[in-house]
Homo-oligomer: 217 residues x 2
């Protein structure tokens, strides 16, 4: 498959690298065509990897992964262009977290979410929120954390969720560990997990953890 | 020990009942001295159980448990009276959830929390937030859900958190399953778990579940 990964930060490079390892072709997108991190990543990742603008990457991808920060997701996708995401599965792994006066804050929150914002702004994209609840190394290597821990998917397009669930399977998440929370509105719920995630990060001193949902039946 | 449990809903009655079973004396507090649910509960729970106003219950208790809804917690504690909570461990198990136009909403959220509101309003109470992340039946019977799943404590008074951790042990939560998230500010994080909790409730069709934090180290 051809993947566009928007965002050249650690999340984008980690997801892009794993996708290349899995045999996919990947274009890492950024604001400019000559982003140093993207060019360097592409050179190291080999012939199936490339770099370009958000628009070039999104045009290339059959699937688009939003891996820029949640607060700049709409701007990145506007730059990518609706014509390059319409009809495609758009996986949003972002969280609208930012440091404000030294405190980690989440916005939008509770009455809205990045997942919903993206789906509203790009109504013909098939948005699936997933993977935002774990560190990027856990995203692509769930075996690094012991146990049958879970990831979530939500979105309004069931076939898109199935396709993302299959991708999660390639990353190492068996389908029975992927919990479907329903429509894209549930992005609020998974984004609001982040403050607790950050609290556990502080408590443990590292990000190699995840939640396993245990149930009586 | 003598416990005040404020709130005569399912959470208050379940916690109160378990505390009585454990050998403690419990007063269930409500707005009025003759609340039918509280009187009925006390009659059924036996000689160590009683009912009264918020103030009567709080005066009786060596430890005060806030089990009214998070949106009315301050009103209930104002009725209880600062003189009856000052210096005491005050366990807040509430969440500020309410149905608004058919949707479950959380308020305050992100920039504040009920746990913090209570600590600010009653600066001499030793507020510990805990147990709000699970259904009340799981609170007092963690064995009803398989696995080494977790509960959280946070609060500004370390000795108060230790005392609450011991109480959690009586309920069946071994100390190694109690995760300390730091000061009362972390109430935000555990209250913001509730939308995901509600999503899982919808997905599973029951509330007998909890999260187990799995970690690499």
């Amino acid at each position: 498959m051809r993947y566009a990964v928007l965002g050249t930060g650690q999340v984008g490079r980690t997801l892009g690298g794993r996708l290349v390892e899995l045999g996919h072709e990947v274009r890492l997108g950024s604001r400019t065509p000559d982003n140093a991190a993207a060019v360097q990543w592409a050179a190291a990742a080999g012939p199936r990897a490339g770099a370009g603008t958000f628009a070039q990457a999104a045009e290339f991808g059959e699937v688009v992964v939003n891996a820029v920060g949640g607060r700049v997701a709409l701007a990145a996708l506007e730059a990518a262009g609706a014509e390059h995401v319409d009809g495609k599965v758009l996986v949003d792994v972002s969280n609208p977290l930012a440091l404000e006066e030294g405190e980690l804050r989440l916005s939008p929150v509770e009455s809205d979410s990045v997942g919903e914002q993206i789906q509203r702004a790009f109504p013909r994209a098939r948005v699936v929120k997933s993977l935002n609840t774990v560190n990027c190394r856990v995203m692509v290597d769930p075996g690094s954390v012991p146990g049958e821990h879970n990831v979530f998917v939500c979105g309004d397009d069931p076939a898109a969720k199935e396709q993302v669930t299959a991708l999660l399977g390639e990353f190492g998440w068996p389908a029975e560990r992927v919990l479907d929370l329903g429509g894209i509105r549930a992005s609020r719920a998974v984004e609001m997990w982040l403050p607790l995630w950050a609290g556990l990060l502080r408590t443990f001193g590292h990000a190699e953890f995840n939640l396993e949902v245990r149930r009586a039946r």
